[in-house]
Subunit: 197 residues, 2 copies
DNA sequence: ACAAATGAATGAATCGTTCATACAATGTTA
DNA sequence: TAACATTGTATGAACGATTCATTCATTTGT
């Protein structure tokens, strides 16, 4: 077989894999591990029932793979936040908008699902334990504290404030995912009012 | 059988029913219809697998019964809100605290589950259609509008604002139900910042 | 020819529901 | 009061319908 054809074939395979993963991510994020049926993924991807198994070993493999990617993504998103330009409020604002952004939203929700579901594959469990969302909060705390020192943010326990805030964001995403697709990105400033004074 | 003994027996039956319903409500609110197994209800109630069926026809019957009760509750809670003393903010504050109150929280979540689950028993579906949470918002809108006129609340489409607010409250409850039981009631004023200016 | 794709078929697991059995409380008889 | 009978309550193992991940015989496209 010629090199070129082989390379093309491999690329086609990768594209299919991506297509399936993208569909799976959407459903997993919304419905959780046990709530997602392979048939749903197939339908979302526009392929037949069985085809996923040409590209992946099992449902669990897909889930674990996505969780690992989600964590990787999350890690990247957070590393940058402190280096963003602007005041603490603007930094948090960018970060929140980033979270609410379609792709990241799904990753975020996926990790939530992995945290609250039963029977999560061990591969995924380990990945989460290695980098828990607890760490997310601890990364953001310095920004919040700086905001307090500069007088923009309300006083009080930063940890508790941020938990509240992230819970709200999380809840909003879930709500959004289920019910009508309202666009909350316009309302981020209202949400930030929870933190400011 | 003497009157007295019979009356006692009937009361015992009612108590058992309540015990089972209470357990079921807790689990249904948290896990939804299909997420709740009869075994979970039994465990929560501290009884054996099969006993629920001496007191209820089926899982669906229990669910539908609870949904009807929840709607009844909800209707009552909302009727009063306009008559509460104080400014619009204080009225909304009372209302929110009321929602977050343990029992009502579970009813509130149950209705949400009924709204977003598949395969909801027709009895429950009809009850919800008769009195949807849409109405909840419409009942609250006058209060919000008054708040806007008096300058306490931010400008903008009241409907959208309240959807946002209730979504946030809802999300918080779900979060709360899943993760550690943090007490958010202290944070209600922060949440109300979403609505005020 | 051959890989890609299909979707019906499989079979294991899940879970609502039932049922044979045990138990406790009350009633009956002597 | 003691022995027995009766009734309603509770258990948890077993049943059977259904669901769903996975497989595979077949078709499609190149």
């Amino acid at each position: 077989m010629p090199r070129i054809a082989r390379a093309q074939a491999e690329q086609a395979i990768d594209e299919r894999k991506e297509q399936i993963k993208k569909a799976a991510l959407k459903i997993f994020a919304e419905k959780g591990l046990s709530g997602t049926k392979m048939s749903m993924i197939a339908e979302e991807a526009g392929i037949s029932q069985g085809l996923s198994y040409r590209y992946f070993e099992s449902k669990d493999e897909i889930f674990a793979l996505l969780v690992e990617e989600a964590i990787e993504e999350s890690r990247n998103a957070i590393q940058d936040i402190g280096k963003l330009p602007g005041s603490p409020i603007e930094q948090l604002r960018s970060f929140t908008l980033h979270l609410l952004d379609e792709d990241h939203k799904q990753y975020f929700l996926l990790v939530q699902q992995a945290l609250t579901s039963e029977g999560v594959p061990s591969k995924a469990r380990e990945a989460i334990e290695r980098y828990s969302p607890q760490d997310t909060i601890e990364q953001i705390i310095p920004i919040f504290v700086r905001g307090q020192q500069e007088g923009q943010f309300a006083e009080g326990d930063p940890y508790k404030r941020l938990i509240l805030f992230l819970s709200v964001v999380n809840g909003l995403m879930l709500q959004d995912a289920k019910a009508m697709g309202m666009d909350w990105t316009q309302e981020v400033d209202r949400l930030l009012n929870i933190l400011t004074k």
